[in-house]
Each structure stands twice: as C-alpha cells, then as structure tokens.
C-alpha cells in the first residue's frame, strides 16, 4: 500500500475493485466501515460477483472478468472530458507536461517498437525530449500535441461509454454513476482511494490494471494524501513480508534487481540499475542504489567481500538474459524433466498452481522433494494421488515438520508496510521447528560437506557470513533481524550539512536509516528498506506499541516500524502545494513550517518545490521526481490498453486489432491447451478463495470448525444460466475447461448475472480454489485443473480469474 489500513477511515470515496475485502481482509474491513460511519464515505464495489463485500457497500457494479482496463480507461476519458482532474497537481506533480519523442506512436493496439516474433517491445521510442542538460522538456500549459497530457487524452478518447459498456457488460448508467462519484474526489478537500487485490493481479494485464488506477489517482490528486493512494490488500500469509524480503525471483531484498548473466561485473550491474537525472529539483533517490546494493553484498559475505573482488558480486547467482523463473516456468521446466529436486516450503502447488494436470505430472519427474510445512498436503503426497501409480514414481519425498506462525517469534509485515514484531504463543508439537532453523541446519551441513569434499562453486557457499545462531546453537531470529537492518562496519562519523551536526557511530552499531548506508564497504545491510527497524541504541522498533496518534489521522507513529524510515504515507509531500501548505487543512498530513516539515515522516526532508535552490519534487523514487502518467517501464506499453484474456469469449478485441496482451509469454507443452471463443467452453470463469479457508486449504481443511462452515467445492452459477441448463441448487455438476475438469456442488444464486458483451449474452461463473483430494476425501479436487499456464507480462502472476469453461449436469 502507498497508504495503510487505518488511513482508509480518512477516505470520502472507497472504490473496492479487484478485491473482496470483507471476505479476505475481514479485520481490516472495519476501517472501510469506519470511513462510512465517520465520514459518510461512499463505498463502491466493482466485481464480477456480488459477494459479502457487496452486501456492505453502497452499491455493487458487476463487470465481466478481465475487462478492468476498459472500465478504468473509461473513467480516465470521463475525467479528462469533464475536466475533473486536479489541475495544479497534474501540472506540477506528474509528467503530464513532458514532451514525448516524435517517433512514439500507438496504432491499432500496438505501440511503436513491437517485435511480433519475439513478442517484445523495444522501448527506444518511449522516451521524452530532453534539453541540452538532459532534463525532459516540458509544456506547463499541457497543450503541446506531444505532451503526455494530450497523448493520454488521445489514447483514452477511444474508451467511450458505448465501447466500455459493450466490452465490460456494465450499463452506461452504472458507468456514469461510478465515474461521477469517484471523479468528484479530484478536489482539494476530498480523498478517493482504491482497495485492490488478486482480482486485479490475477490477469495477463494485471500490472497495467493497477497502472490505470495509478493514472486516475494522479489525475485526481489522490496520491500522497490521507484517505488516498493505491492500496493493495496483501495476502494474509505475510505476503508483504515475503515480497519485502525478495521471495520473487527477479528481486533481491528490498526490491533490488536480480543481476543477469551479461552483467558480469559489479560496475556493469550498478551502471544498469542506477537511474540518472540532471534535474536539480529531482531527488532521484534511487541514485543511492549502489549504497543499498554494496551494503547487501557486505551483509552476505562480510569480510570476504572487498573492493578488489567487487564485494563478492561474482558469487551471486545470475539469471540468464531474457529468462524468467516464475512458478509457471519452474513447473514447465520440471515437466520437461529439467528440474530434479524441489523444496516446497509452506506451499501446496499441486492445488494452487495453474494447470494442475501439468503440475502433478511434472512432480513425477523429480528425483527428490523436500516439504517443510505444518501439515501433509497434496503436493507432498503427489505420488499416491488420483491416477498415480506409486510403483512407477521414483521420487524420494522428505517431510520436515515446521512450526506454525504462532509457535515462533519474528516480524510480520502488513499491507501498510507496518513491520510488527510478534512473539511465540505456543510450543510447536513433536519435532517441528521454525523454517529458519531448518534452513540453518541444512546449510550448516552443506557447508561442512563443501569444506570436507569440495564441490562445484564452493565460494558462494563458504564465503557467506553465517553466524545466526544463539549460544545454544539454535536459529536466533533477532540476530537475523539486526543483520537485515544493517550496521556500521567501522567507526563512522555522519555529517548532516543542513543541520550542521556530526554524529559518531561505533563499529557494530545498527544503522538508524538507509540514508547512512555507504557504497564503499563500510556498511552492511541485508535489506535496505528495513534500515531503521532498530534504532542506533539497538532497540527493536518493531516491538513498539505506542497508542498515541497526535494528528488524529490514524498514523500511530509509535506503533511498530513502517518501512521506509517509519513513513506512514508514501509521497506525502504531494499532499501540500508548491509552498508546502496542505491542500486540505482538515487532514493535515504534512506542513512546511519554513524550516522543516511537521506531521508524518516527510518523503524527503527537502524543502517544497517552490524553493528552486533546495526544493525537490515529491515523487522522489522516480528518476524525474514526478508521478508517471506516461510509464515506459512496463512490458506492454507506457499507457495501459485493454486486451482480452488469453482465453476469453471474443475472437476480436472491440478496441483494436490486437486481441491479447502482445507481451505475454506462451507455454507450449502438450498440456498447455487454450480454447478462445470456443463454443465448447462458452462461460467466463473466475476463481477465488473464501473467508473460511486459506489459499489451497492445505492448512484450513484439517480444521473441523472451518471445514464445517465451508465443507466442499462448489461453483456459483447465476439463476438464468442454471435455468437454461436445468441445474438445481445443490445439485452435483461438472465444470470443465479444455485443460481439465472438476466435480462439485452447484450453488445457484441471484448474485451472478449474465453480461451483454458485443451484443451477445455472456455468462460468468466462479469457483473457490480451496479444496484438494487429500482431505476431505469427498470435498472436491483442485479448481486449477481448469486454469491456463499464462500470466502477466511483467510479473508472471497467473491469469486465474478469466478463462473459459463449460458446466454440465452429472
């Protein structure tokens, strides 16, 4: 989230889209209800399904799965046509005024630079005109035909009410209602926010859906203010903590970039990853990238990392250029027999990964599989699953019992970036130990083997800093947390020129902020964004539970630690005008006193923009310092464009000649079948979870109270479709896609309605994905037998929420 959970109560209009917040974030949902009760906030739920969230919102607008960019693009069109944008903010805080290269164009669904063979863009033309100093040329009147603002207007002029209604299946009345209500927040004293989750990310265009909303929020001046922002409701199994600590293959801790093979020296890598800006008013904070990265290398290899050996850069694994290593790629390689061993830690991909048939067949190719979990699950038992002959499977499976979250101490990060330390509440049963402890033991043994027998590439393993144990030899989570925070490797004096102060730090002292990290090897930090989670005196700020809220805005600055540097709302200097006066004095997040900022931790201590000598633009993490309406960093284009899902009901994109996302990758095994606009699979299908179960259900299906409340797999079908097919409520049916099928109970409901899309009736159905064959035996098997192996072009997040099925009586 750019904001945080409690801040939701400050909003005037909350758009819940791509989220079923009441069902999947039931505790946090109370803040959304507070906004309604305390502010009279309007709650709008846009979702293919009417859910328990819809029941608590002011109204629900159903739309066809996979058409969110069309819906939001229509809103951009509405905002610009009706002049609802917050002009001052757009001119001064976004790149609306930047002039784009004359070689850039968009034609019939494709941007300039497309290589259709490689399914990839060259971004050479997605650039700005620059002056002699290298600073982007700007037209502050926003009238130049090639300024971003005019190009934006032109792009979304195609998203007329008629077109959007026809693509999404949403009536023009409903579109107008939502657009009018939401765009009314484009004024100084109103805040609009969006709560989204997997309903947006689980699409081949997922990242761009979020980008479209970011554009809307920038146009309306909703970024960096109380009750605004773009707020992802992260997954409950500590997804925020996981991504912060680089569970994603393309990241190093703190969202640094994983190096690729062609970046074979530290210099080359640093050069590629460190953005440059010539504009003195752009803080371009990522120019400090070398400090974060070198400090990371020092935390990994300590004294072994020296200036001479590039701080051990050559010991880091590198990705092959152009390759990707997502979950889908992993199982594709495994299916081809190229992956021999797997650690499946706290996961059940046999139920939760797309294209279950392919995943389960892939597992049979493994020589060994190590499971670390609190319970057994379908993945660990794949060798005795339905249709598998154990005698023919040669995989050796190891099950290592792991402690559950309440059986160990450590930090947990919520969506609002609050890193909250939590304590052990119960002893783990039997031999179960924390996963951190399992990791330590395994790597200890590996290092001992390397030392004794040698082996391939010993340096990365043997040169690791490896002292994370307490006096009893057990995993010491506080040692790890401190290493992550970072510390000074030698006595250091930090000078603050602005304040005229000098502070001395001793070797070994914890760094209180990433501002003090260095690229010369004098600091170590396992994760730069966590710097400051401990203070210099060694106090664990994540443990703090201060209930004071001096601004009354719900910031709670002394409750735990929020990265970065305890800043609660990101880009908060955009909540003030050019002189640092809050746009909305009633929700004073920050204010410039003439000397300093008061309120939240300012997003950069620099004076407001009006100060041409020392002032900086507010979006300090962007190289240009301004919010990006034109975003060249995306794989499929600087402006989001509606493309149909890989498998959808239409054979032609109503908006252009480009049916699907031109930058998505295809998987081509014999089990990767796709059936687009196929009469055999006429219904749009989405998948989701429920309040009572957790992801694959591998933990919750064993819990009798939860299973009693939600006992088995079901498909939600609208009454019109059920009537057409003669399906009764509670009857058993089969749901099938071109890839596989499942049997389940039919839940016939008024909450699903058909859509009128391009003049034809299109039905939508949906299933939860929480069930697997292991337990209960009669509860249904994985919904992902239905889903395709395809994902977002930027993140490879799978398209779980839009594909085509049929439903038949058994």
């Amino acid at each position: 989230m750019t904001n945080h959970y409690i801040d939701l109560k400050n909003s005037d209009v909350i758009l819940i889209m791509g989220s079923n917040a009441a069902e999947h974030h039931p505790i946090a949902f109370k803040w959304i209800l507070r906004a309604k009760e305390q502010n009279g906030a309007r709650l709008i739920h846009v979702d293919p399904r009417y859910t328990r969230t819809s029941a608590r919102c002011d109204y629900h607008v159903p739309l066809r799965s996979g058409t969110d960019i069309a819906f939001l693009g229509g809103m951009i069109h509405y905002i610009l046509t009706n002049k609802k944008e917050f002009r001052d903010y757009v001119v001064n805080y976004t790149n609306a005024s930047f002039i784009v290269s004359e070689d850039f164009y968009f034609k019939d669904g494709l941007f300039s630079g497309y290589d259709s063979k490689a399914r990839k863009y060259s971004k050479d033309t997605w650039v700005f005109e620059k002056d002699a100093k290298g600073i982007p040329v700007r037209d502050m009147t926003l009238t130049h035909p090639r300024c971003v603002f005019q190009l934006l207007k032109k792009h979304y002029s195609r998203y007329t009410m008629e077109k959007v209604a026809s693509i999404t299946g949403v009536s023009k009345e409903d579109l107008t209602k939502v657009y009018a209500e939401y765009s009314a927040t484009g004024v100084k004293d109103k805040a609009g926010t969006v709560c989204y989750a997997l309903g947006w990310t689980h699409h081949t265009t997922g990242s761009q859906i979020i980008r479209t909303m970011s554009i809307i929020q920038l146009l309306l001046g909703n970024m960096g203010i109380c009750g605004g922002g773009v707020n992802a409701l992260r997954g409950e199994p500590n997804v925020q903590g996981s991504t912060d600590h680089c569970i994603l293959y393309g990241n190093l801790p703190g969202y640094l970039k994983m190096p690729v093979a062609s970046q074979d020296t530290l210099t080359k890598y640093i050069e590629k990853c460190t953005p440059k800006s010539s504009d003195p008013q752009s803080a371009n904070y990522y120019q400090n990238y070398p400090k974060f990265f070198v400090s990371f290398l020092k935390s990994m290899f300590h004294d072994k990392a020296t200036k001479e050996n590039g701080f051990g850069y050559s010991w880091l694994p590198k990705m092959d250029d152009g390759a990707a290593y997502s979950l889908m790629h992993l199982f594709d390689e495994m299916y081809k027999g190229k992956i021999k061993g797997l650690f499946a830690v706290g996961t059940d991909p046999s139920v939760s990964s797309p294209n279950t048939a392919k995943v389960r067949k892939a597992l049979e190719n493994l020589d060994w599989l190590v499971g670390e979990n609190i319970f057994d699950n379908e993945t660990y038992c794949f060798w005795k699953g339905p249709g598998v002959d154990p005698a023919k499977v040669k995989t050796e499976v190891f099950l290592l019992p792991a402690s559950a979250s309440m059986e160990k101490e450590g930090s947990q990060s919520n969506s609002g970036r609050w890193v909250q330390w939590k304590y052990k509440a119960a002893e783990a049963p039997g031999d179960a130990i924390p996963v951190g402890e399992i990791t330590i033991k395994i790597l200890d043994a590996v290092r001992a083997l390397y030392a004794k027998e040698g082996g391939k590439c010993p340096d990365p393993i043997l040169n690791l800093k490896w002292d994370y144990k307490d006096s009893k030899g057990r995993f010491d989570v506080l040692k790890v947390a401190k290493q992550i925070n970072g510390h000074f490797l030698k006595d250091t004096v930090i000078e603050d020129k602005a304040k005229g102060t000098k502070t001395e730090f001793k070797k070994g002292q914890l760094v209180p902020t990433f501002d003090m990290l260095a690229d010369d090897g004098s600091t170590a930090s396992g994760n730069w964004i966590m710097a400051g989670s401990f203070d210099a005196a060694g106090n664990n700020k994540m443990m703090k539970r201060g209930k004071d809220d001096p601004t009354g805005l719900g910031l709670y600055p002394n409750w735990s630690f929020a990265w970065p540097v305890n800043r609660r709302i990101i880009y908060n200097r955009a909540s003030c005008d050019l002189n640092g006066k809050p746009y909305n004095p009633k929700r004073k997040l920050l204010e410039w006193t003439g000397e300093t900022w008061v309120g939240d931790v300012p997003d950069g201590p620099w004076p407001p923009q009006a100060d041409k000598q020392k002032g900086k633009y507010p979006f300090i993490m962007k190289p240009d310092g301004l919010g990006a309406l034109f975003g060249p960093g995306m794989a499929e284009g600087p402006f989001p464009e509606h493309y149909e899902p890989l498998e959808g009901p239409l054979s032609k994109n109503p908006l252009s000649g480009q049916l699907i996302n031109p930058a998505i990758k295809f998987f081509n095994s014999d089990l990767d079948k796709v059936a687009n606009a196929d009469a055999k699979f006429p219904y749009v299908c989405t998948t989701y979870s429920c309040t009572e179960h957790w992801c694959s259900g591998a933990l919750t299906r064993w819990q009798a109270w939860l299973l009693e409340a939600m006992p088995e797999l079901y498909v939600e079908i609208g009454e019109p479709l059920a009537k057409e097919k003669g399906i009764q409520n509670g009857e058993r049916v089969r749901v099938s896609s071109v890839r596989g099928n499942v049997e389940c109970v039919a839940m016939v409901t008024k909450r699903f309605r058909p859509f009128l899309v391009e003049g034809k009736t299109v039905h939508q159905v949906g299933l939860p994905f929480n069930y697997g064959w292991l337990h209960p035996k009669d509860g249904g098997d994985s919904t992902n037998f239905l889903t395709p192996t395809v994902g977002d072009a930027n993140t490879f997040c799978p398209e779980y929420k839009a594909f085509m099925v049929n439903v038949t009586k058994l």
């Binding site: 505790i27 949902f29 009693e708 079901y714 409520n729 009857e731």
Partner: protein, 267 residues
C-alpha cells in the same frame, strides 16, 4: 457489586458474515465441528444443532423496489425476559441469571425436551448422546468474570456489541434512525423484551426462521399460568380437605352397620 441487566446487540447492517462468531462460540464452548455438505448455500451447518449454538443465516432477497440484498442474520438464543423454556423446564436446568439472560445448568437437564417444543424461536437443540439440550448461555461464566462473550470478542466490524440494557436499546434506536427505510429494532416488544436485540434492515417477516410476533405459546400459558396453579390449588385443597375431614369426623371406624348379619339372627 450487583450485576446489571445486559443486552447483546446484533447489528445485521454491519455484519460481513465472516463466521468468526460461529467458530469462536464453538471454540469457547468446546463444541465439535461436524462433516457437512454444501446444500447450495454458504450457510453451514444448515440449522442450529446441539453442537452449533449460533449460526449465520444467509438469505438472498429482492425487495419491493427490485433491489437485490444478501441478508445475514446471526441466529441463536434470544434470552427472553418471559422465557417459555424456563417456564416449562421441570428440573430448573434453565434459569434466569443475574444479568437477565437465560442460563443452562447442563447436569440438571433431564432431556425431557419440553423447552424444544416451547421456544418460539426454535432454539434449544437436543444432544442424543448426552440426553440433554444445549443452547447459547450468553457466555455466563465469561460475563461473571467481567469478559465479553466469545462471539462479541471475535466480531471484527462491531456488528456485535454488549452493554447495559437501556444503553443498548438507545444505540439500536439511533442506528435504525440513521439507516432509515425499513430498518427496525427487533426484540424489545415481545416476550417481555429479549436480551438479544437486532438491528434489521428489512421488516422481520422478510427473514428466514424469524418469527414476526413471537410469544410464549398459549398452551404453555394456560398450562403453567392457569392450569398448574389451579391444579396445585386443587391438589392442595384435597390434602387440606382430607385433613380437615379427619379432624372433624375422625378416622373411618368400623360401625353398627357392619354387624348387620348378627342383628338378624338375635332374640
């Protein structure tokens, strides 16, 4: 300190049907979860049971204006002031607590099921294995310890609140006024007032398994409030009458009429 009369308020307009209360109740009262089937609804178990003392009911409703609403209602014991179950319980297992709620002493229950028949809300359920009935006791021991009931504690949105009767009724009325439309308070106007109140968004008759005007059944009133006192009176009258008769007329002795046979055969 004297216990005050409390009321638990269920504001259905704040409920997200998360089933936290349904599970918290089972956890606190150590009631098992049983294997169920999905009968075409999120509602499960399908009804209150001996091991399910509170249940979220799901209902798809289209109102008179054609608006679709998904209604959620937490079902369970209403803790009546005039509780039919207490009235008919022969063993005193069901009783009024110091909070005005209806408690249940499980070991006094003889499994006669009078209460099952009597309750206008169809709440008490019979546990065949133990030959006893079960129902929500509004977490009596938790209240005695100054704690909130398990369900109230678990509710994330504030749909469940508990407090002094007058204050809760006031809060309910204020909420209903805020909501407007058909919103109403349910529970204050019958069976002497219940200690569980609802804020409903629709009229009571719309809701599944919710009686519009519940009352202690007439047969029970006739039995307990009329026939029983009368019959007690009559029983008492017979005992007193017999005793008085004894005092006045003495015991029944053998008399002359008893020697009838001898008289005939004399001088």
């Amino acid at each position: 300190m004297q216990a005050t009369e409390i009321v638990k308020l269920i504001d259905t307009t704040r409920c997200t049907a998360c089933r936290g209360c349904q599970v918290a109740c089972k956890q606190w009262n150590e009631m098992p979860g049983k294997r169920t089937r999905n009968f075409g609804s999120y509602q499960n178990p399908p009804d209150l049971q001996w091991n399910t003392w509170t249940l979220i009911r799901f209902q798809e409703h289209v109102d008179s204006k054609g608006n679709f609403k998904w209604l959620f209602r937490k079902d369970g014991c209403m803790h009546c002031t005039d509780a039919a179950c207490v009235k008919v319980c022969p063993s005193g297992a069901l009783f009024y607590t110091e909070f005005g709620t209806v408690g249940l002493k499980e070991d006094l229950c003889i499994g006669c099921k009078n209460c099952v028949a009597a309750c206008p809300f169809e709440v008490p359920r019979y546990d065949g294995a133990k030959d006893r009935i079960t129902k929500c006791d509004l977490c009596h021991t938790r209240l005695q310890a100054g704690r909130q009931p398990a369900c109230v504690l678990s509710c994330p949105t504030g749909a469940l609140t508990i407090g002094r009767k007058d204050m809760m009724l006031k809060a309910a009325e204020k909420r209903v006024k805020e909501l407007g439309g058909d919103a109403n308070v349910y529970g204050d106007k019958f069976v002497g007032g219940t200690h569980v109140l609802y804020v409903l968004s629709e009229k009571p008759e719309v809701y599944d398994a919710l009686p519009k005007s519940p009352s202690v059944p007439l047969s029970i009133l006739v039995w307990k409030d009329f026939l029983k006192p009368v019959s007690l009176l009559a029983a008492g009258g017979i005992l007193v009458g017999s005793f008085l008769h004894y005092l006045i007329h003495g015991p029944k002795l053998p008399d002359d009429a008893g020697d009838a046979g001898k008289k005939e055969g004399g001088e």
